[in-house]
């Protein structure tokens, strides 16, 4: 009995942390209608700052805590002012969501550069001796945590409900246009909510630092847990955030205590999926949810990236010729394996482009499908002796089946829900891989994967693998281009920008989205299989959430909705760290920053910019052709 109570107390403590992160999510969502995925990073910034002032500078606890919170909030405010605020007023919601994923990556990268990759732990505020009440041991830091959380919640409630400033903040969420007409400075309010969220997050981080060991990428864990918590509780509802956080904490502690700590995540994610299916808006939904799936009319303008017939043909021939000849040209020896990886990842990014660039649906867990593809094919061929090709096909079937289940679970697949469900899905797969040690090799990875082989021909050298990946990429690009330029592509683009108008023309919005999701899942799965066969090794972090975010960065960098764009993105992000080995530590920060900067300054991406430039190059013998030629 007392062990149950002890587990619940542990759950409450952990849940308190999640609740604080969830509160930050809720606050920003209420004002801007955007889920700010960088929320978890604020905690880590606060905690790292605390370490700096308390341990390195040896300041007293209170002073160190204040300094840490002030510094990390100030830093976040500066970053928010130049990235988040302009993005909210300029970009469609789905892009802003991805941009905040970029911010998270950027913060993680900065933490890695400044504090390195070792874990940090701080002494508790009031010593190590726990409070003992009626035989139950309560860590003193927990009392601090609960007390300060309560104070934060009360303060927030007072601010939003009882002050003019709070009313202005709420007005921004209800009706931004009217709020602006009433003289409310919208960007300032958005920045204010971002700053408040950073403040709450860093206070939370300072409080948590003594009870859990933190390292540079813990922010991702906080973001995900907090996001799951708000999803359970209901986004935009403060009560929901708190209840969701605590439920999640208790669920994880129970799973860790009664099943295995390896499965702690699995249970929590199942809880989330159940809530998503039974109550899509969360336990405490705050009024009718906004249509986050339809892009706001004012913010959908995008440059038309079109290369007219002749130019496209010339460009494609030149590009393919260069790629075909590359292996026989004098290139540095380490380059070819990197090219193989870029091409393999490009196949997955291609699928992501279909889903995000064309259908406008964000997937934050696309690596989950890669994981299914990789592990399924690898396990079937190592442990069961299946021919690799059969393994790849079995993995494809399984991935598409999972995509269908996911579609079923998320009903209409509306914007935020798909993002959330795919994130949960990616994590679920990840936790299953980590948990099922006997089958998958667990955290240390699966070794001894054979080379890919078709009818006795083994793709066991980088050159062979390169040509395999290149052929597949070219075929897939051609096939998708065929679909995208005809009716299917038009239906996807119509759904992306205006579901209601699309449906009125007879487009079955749901079916179109499900087809897009299935195709993109299949491509990710194929990419995952090839990845495993190419490395002869697969570990969970190679196909984890970081990979999902990286693929988003590749897509945005190359150019959404262009198919080819993803190749340039994947090439750049794969080659950069290998070319500049010494700067590898900056990789994560640069990736995040690139994603944010490209979104803000070059929304058409590298390839889009290239196309716009190519269109201005004079070409003898051709006029700029009309697509509507008669």
């Amino acid at each position: 009995m007392s062990s149950i109570v002890q587990v619940i107390i542990g759950g409450l403590l952990q849940g308190g942390v999640f609740a604080i992160v969830a509160l930050g999510f809720s606050l920003v969502f209420r004002v801007t209608n955007v889920v700010n995925l960088s929320q978890g990073a604020f905690c880590v910034l606060g905690a790292m700052g605390m370490y700096y002032f308390q341990v390195v500078f040896d300041w007293p606890i209170l002073l160190a805590a204040i300094a840490a919170v002030v510094c990390s909030t100030a830093f976040s405010l500066v970053v928010g002012a130049v990235s988040f605020v302009p993005a909210v007023s300029r970009l469609p919601n789905s892009s802003t969501l991805v941009l905040t994923a970029g911010l998270l990556t950027f913060f993680i990268g900065i933490t890695l550069v400044v504090w390195g990759n070792q874990p940090y732990a701080l002494p508790p505020f009031s010593g190590e001796t726990p409070l003992v009440i009626g035989g139950l041991r309560i860590p003193t830091q927990g009392v601090w945590l609960v007390g300060v959380s309560a104070a934060i919640i009360l303060g927030l409630w007072l601010l939003l409900q009882k002050t003019t400033l709070g009313r202005a903040l709420r007005a921004c969420a209800e009706n931004p246009a009217a709020a602006r007409l009433m003289g409310i400075n919208l960007p300032r309010m958005m920045l204010l909510s971002f700053g408040l969220a950073a403040l709450i997050g860093s206070v939370g981080g300072v409080l948590i630092a003594p009870v859990m060991s933190l390292q540079f990428d813990t922010g991702q864990f906080f973001t995900i847990s907090g996001f799951v918590a708000v999803a359970i509780g209901g986004i935009g509802s403060f009560v929901g955030s708190i209840v969701g956080g605590i439920l999640l904490g208790i669920a994880e502690q129970f799973a860790a205590f009664y099943v295995s700590s390896l499965f702690a995540n699995t249970l929590a994610l199942l809880l989330l999926l159940v809530v998503l299916i039974l109550r899509p808006a969360g336990l405490f939904s705050s009024g009718p949810l906004r249509r986050s799936d339809v892009r706001d009319e004012a913010r959908v303008h995008r440059a038309l990236v079109r290369l007219p017939g002749h130019r496209a043909l010339i460009f494609a021939v030149v590009l393919v010729a260069v790629l075909v000849l590359l292996p026989v040209m004098p290139i540095p020896s380490g380059l070819l394996p990197s090219l193989v990886i870029s091409l393999i990842l490009f196949i997955a990014v291609l699928g992501l482009d279909l889903l995000m660039g064309y259908a406008g649906q964000v997937s934050l867990g696309h690596a989950g499908f890669m994981a299914i593809g990789g592990y399924c094919a690898a396990i079937l061929s190592t442990s069961f002796g299946w021919p690799p090709l059969l393994g790849v096909i079995a993995a494809l079937v399984l991935s598409v089946f999972c995509a269908l289940l996911l579609a079923l679970a998320t009903g209409q697949l509306r914007g935020l829900y798909l993002a959330l469900a795919t994130l949960a899905f990616g994590l679920l797969i990840d936790s299953l891989i980590v948990g099922l040690v006997d089958v998958t090799g667990g955290p240390s990875g699966l070794v001894g994967i054979p080379a890919f082989e078709v009818a006795g021909f083994a793709f066991d050298t980088p050159v062979r693998m390169y040509y395999l990946a290149l052929t597949l990429s070219v075929v897939l690009v051609l096939a998708l281009e065929g679909g995208m330029r005809l009716g299917f592509g038009r239906a996807l683009k119509a759904v992306r920008s205006d579901q209601l108008a699309a449906a009125a023309l007879g487009v079955n919005v749901r079916r179109v989205k499900v087809v897009a999701l299935c195709i993109s899942a299949a491509l990710a799965s194929l990419s995952g299989s090839l990845y495993a066969f190419s490395f002869h090794f697969l570990s969970p972090e190679m196909v984890g959430t970081t990979r999902s975010f990286e693929m988003l960065a590749m897509l945005v960098l190359g150019g959404e909705g262009t198919l080819i764009g993803g190749f340039f993105g994947s090439l750049m992000l794969t080659l950069l760290p290998t070319l500049v080995q010494d700067l590898a530590v900056f990789k994560t920060a640069v990736e995040g920053a690139l994603l944010v900067v490209i979104f803000l300054l070059m929304p058409e991406g590298l390839f889009g910019r290239l196309v716009l430039w190519l269109n201005t190059v004079p070409l003898y013998g051709t006029k700029i052709a009309r697509a509507g030629a008669r």
């Binding site: 959908v300 995008r302 679909g483 920008s497 209601l500 449906a503 009125a504 007879g506 697509a627 509507g628």
Partner: protein, 276 residues
């Protein structure tokens, strides 16, 4: 406009079902909270006619429209298209019945060129399955060429032939509204429901739209227009329905409506000392 009918309409379809009305509303009511937005309205749009639904602001015209296309479920009553009960059908289902609607605000698809926008209207008539589109089959490409020709011809007809490859959102509002009408026509509708197509159009464009709609009717498409622009309605409609405060207060030929005392009162208010 002589060749017009052959562009948009396969004639054999036009002759079927002349007798069943295109749209039939039977005692349709819609209540929002306590507000009776549409109050027991019954009206019939005969097949092959061009009807107009008019009324002062807030009369419930757009609500009736949205109920008919099942964007909102009616509180009571039922809607039939060509004799088929439509209550409870989803938007794609209604479109599949041959009933295509447009929206009050211009809703062209951003990120697509003008001609792509128009071609998107033909979604229901694309026969080539996704897989054959992906394989660049001959059939899929031939179908695409036909769509391009048809869309370009329609755009030429409303004077937007030179804007085919421009981003649709870059065009002025008037042109965007015309694109929406043409996009709806690409779906080969049997019944076209237009929500204020002339709003935002200049006089020249309005006159062109009137000619265009009459030609569409002559080609066999039934049309119901919600409109504010009186001269447009009186010039184009076969039959006019007048809504006021959610109720149908008059219906008939344009000339009759112009003389109708109740209608004049609804628009201008009752003369001094009299109440309706």
């Amino acid at each position: 406009m002589a060749e017009y009918g052959s562009i948009i309409w396969d004639q054999d379809r036009a002759r079927g079902g002349k007798m069943t009305p295109a749209l039939e509303c039977r005692s349709v009511s819609k209540i929002f909270g306590g507000l009776l937005a549409v109050d027991d309205v019954s009206l019939t749009v005969p097949s092959g006619s061009l009807c107009a639904l008019i009324g002062p602001n807030g009369a419930g015209k757009t609500t009736l429209f949205n109920v008919a296309t099942n964007l909102y479920a009616p509180s009571s009553g039922e809607v039939r298209f060509f004799g088929k009960k439509a209550t409870g059908l989803s938007a794609p289902h209604i479109a599949a019945l041959g009933v295509i609607r447009t929206f009050q605000t211009a809703r062209v698809f951003p990120g697509m060129t003008t001609i792509e926008n128009v071609m998107a209207g033909a979604h229901l008539h694309i026969r080539a399955p996704v897989i054959s589109q992906m394989l660049w089959t001959h059939a899929a490409r031939r179908e695409e060429r036909r769509l391009i020709e048809k869309a370009a011809a329609l755009l030429d007809m409303i004077g937007l032939g030179n804007s085919c490859d421009v981003a649709a959102t870059d065009l002025p509002i008037g042109a965007q509204k015309l694109i929406e009408v043409v996009r709806a026509l690409m779906a080969n509708p049997k019944l076209l429901l237009l929500d204020e197509p002339a709003a935002g159009l200049n006089d020249h464009e309005t006159a062109e739209l009137a000619v265009f709609l009459r030609a569409t009717r002559d080609a066999g498409t039934s049309i119901l227009v919600v409109e504010h622009n009186m001269s447009f309605v009186m010039g184009v409609a076969d039959q006019v329905f007048v809504l006021d405060a959610g109720r149908l207060i008059a219906s008939g030929a344009p000339q009759e409506i112009q003389q109708d005392q109740t209608v004049i009162e609804a628009y201008l208010g009752a003369p001094e000392g009299q109440t309706r």
